[in-house]
Symmetry: C2
Subunit: 271 residues, 2 copies
């Protein structure tokens, strides 16, 4: 069972795709072929979208589903002529909010991911630069860090830090535990003195072995024995030092980031 889905927006389409994906994962047995049609802000583009939708129906023999966040009513109506199943993302929420807030919504196009607040943008770019400069133990001055991730090499620290920086503007550093740290079973002083910012990532040794083997095939670093020992030593060390820990093996980057921020009590909003 397959169905075609179009995410149609007058902006980036990120909101449409996020909500659409969340709703559609609840209809699991069906596989969805999804396509994004962003920046639909004119009749010409809306007509082109309608043509694509009709074409998909002709090709597949099934009504496509449209997840729509276009705010202009005329363009939205135009999209309806495609004959697709129309899911209008904002429609159900506007009336109750207008009632509650006592004012009408402003219909402006592509607001959610389009407007740029300079201060926010700068915070986000600065956080990304911070994450890059403090990646993998490069710069180990953590005075300005909000989060310092610790864990063995390839446990998922770098993508998590970059995600937190890009999405939440959080200054996130990461420190790879060295063999010396693991042997001593003690965190370096510069980490201990930033204990409230620390969070540990761990990973299943079999999974770690796959990841490392892909990176450095045939190396000692990538042997299962080495991975097992490092992970066991790292977990023991983090327990000893009272560092909260999360396994990245079956956890998405979003989920890891979200859990870390919740645990450390960092309340920053999503960009």
């Amino acid at each position: 069972m397959r169905r075609t889905v179009f995410y149609i927006s007058d902006g980036t389409g990120i909101t449409a795709e996020t909500i659409g994906h969340s709703v559609l994962t609840q209809f699991e047995p069906i596989e969805f072929d999804s396509f994004r049609i962003p920046f639909v802000d004119s009749e010409v583009k809306a007509h082109a979208a309608v043509a694509r939708i009709r074409n998909a129906e002709a090709l597949t023999g099934a009504r496509p589903i449209v997840i729509n966040t276009v705010v202009d009513e005329q363009l939205s109506e135009l999209l309806t002529t495609s004959g697709a199943v129309m899911i209008d993302v904002f429609a159900p929420f506007i009336a109750p909010l207008e009632r509650e807030l006592g004012l009408s919504r402003t219909r402006r196009v592509g607001q959610a991911h389009g407007l740029v607040n300079f201060a926010e943008y700068e915070a986000r770019i600065n956080a990304t630069n911070y994450a890059l400069a403090h990646d993998d133990g490069l710069d180990v001055n953590y005075a300005d860090a909000e989060v310092v991730l610790v864990g063995v090499s390839r446990s998922g620290k770098t993508p998590t830090c970059l995600y937190m920086a890009l999405h939440y503007g959080v200054r996130a550093a990461n420190y790879p535990l060295t063999e010396e740290d693991l042997d001593r079973q003690e965190l370096p002083e510069r980490l201990r003195s930033n204990r409230a910012k620390l969070f540990g990532l761990t990973i299943d040794p079999m999974r770690l072995q796959q990841v490392r083997e892909q990176r450095k095939p045939g190396s000692r670093y990538a042997t299962l024995e080495q991975c097992r020992r490092e992970v066991a030593d790292a977990e023991r060390l983090m327990k000893r030092e009272g560092v909260s820990m999360l396994s990245t093996t079956h956890t998405s980057i979003e989920e890891i980031a979200s859990k870390i921020l919740a645990q450390l009590g960092i309340e920053k909003h999503l960009y």
Copy 2:
């Protein structure tokens, strides 16, 4: 005018926050103080959320707004007892989709950003590693790139590449135009031979000056004159070479990424 908003989810809360933010930006004159309550997957956590919501109402004197993506009906009902304005994100879309698709939704918790498909995860991590290795002209072999961003230093290439990698699993490289390239008014051969992957970023010289001044205060690199000349030369070069170009001055990272993917015809789905 201020209102308190809680994004409540049994998973990361990303879907709740994305849709909530999109809807609420349409009520612009009101300022929203927003809080995320993720991983609400038990009665204990739901009760704790209710207490927080009631407390906010007592403190502010206004009914808080709850943007809710908790799929468990009992927990959702429990949240309703808080007296908040309840916006249930999935509710309006389930019935029409159930009718259309001819099956009931599965109620499983935190699906959208929780499930990990190994192949997807790996694509995403590999893309992130690719972006890091091919950042800022480090590795200039673009054979495996899907996108190569070009532009002057600090025009927004790095965050855009990282965003495309983390979000769409796109292998994105970036090359900073050198003074030599600008003087010669010609792209290096390794870029010319990857023309279909090229996309140019440009930026307002005044803005560029601010960004560079923050990075290297008092340097020649950060003078307005230098910024003006580089930007003019870079724009001229990109026009000559027929490279599509976008200004990052008033554009969010999401919007830049979305436009590049649309322009280059890269159809990858959002993680």
